[in-house]
Subunit: 245 residues, 2 copies
Amino acid sequence: MMRVKLTVAYDGTAYHGWQIQKNGNTIEGELNRHLSALLQEEIQVIGASRTDAGVHALCNVAVFDTDTRMPAGKISYALNQRLPEDIRIQDSRRVADDFHPRKCESIKTYEYKILRGTFPMPTERLYSHFIYTPLHVEWMREAAAYLEGKHDFKSFCSENSQAESTVRTIYRIELVEEGSMLKIRISGNGFLYNMVRILAGTLVECGKGRFPAERIQDILEARDRQAAGPTLPPQGLTLVAYRFL
Amino acid sequence: MMRVKLTVAYDGTAYHGWQIQKNGNTIEGELNRHLSALLQEEIQVIGASRTDAGVHALCNVAVFDTDTRMPAGKISYALNQRLPEDIRIQDSRRVADDFHPRKCESIKTYEYKILRGTFPMPTERLYSHFIYTPLHVEWMREAAAYLEGKHDFKSFCSENSQAESTVRTIYRIELVEEGSMLKIRISGNGFLYNMVRILAGTLVECGKGRFPAERIQDILEARDRQAAGPTLPPQGLTLVAYRFL
């Protein structure tokens, strides 16, 4: 038996998220099905980030155990031959038998892309959220500074979350402008359910001038989802980096 | 009567190109249908660049004549309400009654995107061409220099072209690297059928070391499609700028 770690990239547009469901295609379901067919044994992957429907990833992580004699490094090539073209394994390698991606300390980086302008751009529509109202990016940067660090992010978590603790650490929030595209890059040790989309939605409220930057402190203290801004739609969100410590 | 000029952005993935066909959706067909419904008269647009199936545009141009009393600048907003989300008018304005986008001198810029790496990246698959073999970008730049200027591009034109003259001027070819993405930006006064995709395919042959840069001169002189490199697939190509002189 060996444990294999996959680095998985996908376009989430056509999927009901990572986690297996009764109805609808999922990334986990596709991986289990094609790995089982490839390796001729029943495979069940363990995912690192269970991304929502419509969310993308450049580098999510999955591990599984197998008795195959295929070298771990070759599994990426063989599996990519079978997977649909909106899922591509970027790397496969053997890891320690007790490596568990959700029980390891890690730094995850998500990017939320916002396209600003008079009209949406069709070639960006699947990978960004369009906003017509002008955004004051400096106000968003001021607000983002209040979010960095270790905080109770209960206000930034959808009500139906089952997380035991809502304390997380955000290492860094960067706002990068590339023409009319604004990228919000958030690195942290873990994220609650919908947290990045609510953080992005709250920063947008600050950028529109509806929330002053200092309001972030009140929102954090409120520990109430109603205090924060809206949950932005999933297609703007991509998991862009994943590092185990 | 007034003549209206539209700046049209589209994701070409789902279309059989710009030009109306008996079978299959086209950009021109969608514009005619939705404009006719909006303005309550039979509208037929004249397109500037008749892009191929699968090719994208940020700023193609179409003009049409109308008797509407709707101000030209409002047509973009009203038409976008009706168009599918993979087509978006970026601008609408009145132009001179004799303005014809294919009879005007213009500078068009196309971008061909090539993703280099071990495995394709799903979120880039609809807007780039994936190449596994390493490319020497400096060799491609040397080759590109031979293509700039006024030349007979018959070798870079698909056989079934109906163009009378195959002489065109390329003002500039830039190769821009952004991480693993390589962008080939080509500006010119006009392009023959499949010309940008054949130019890109020929530059890739140079980047792989299969053609030395000086070979470009021989290819131009041959005036024979067989002398040039392959036609790269359409999804890597986007019309990114259009300027009338």
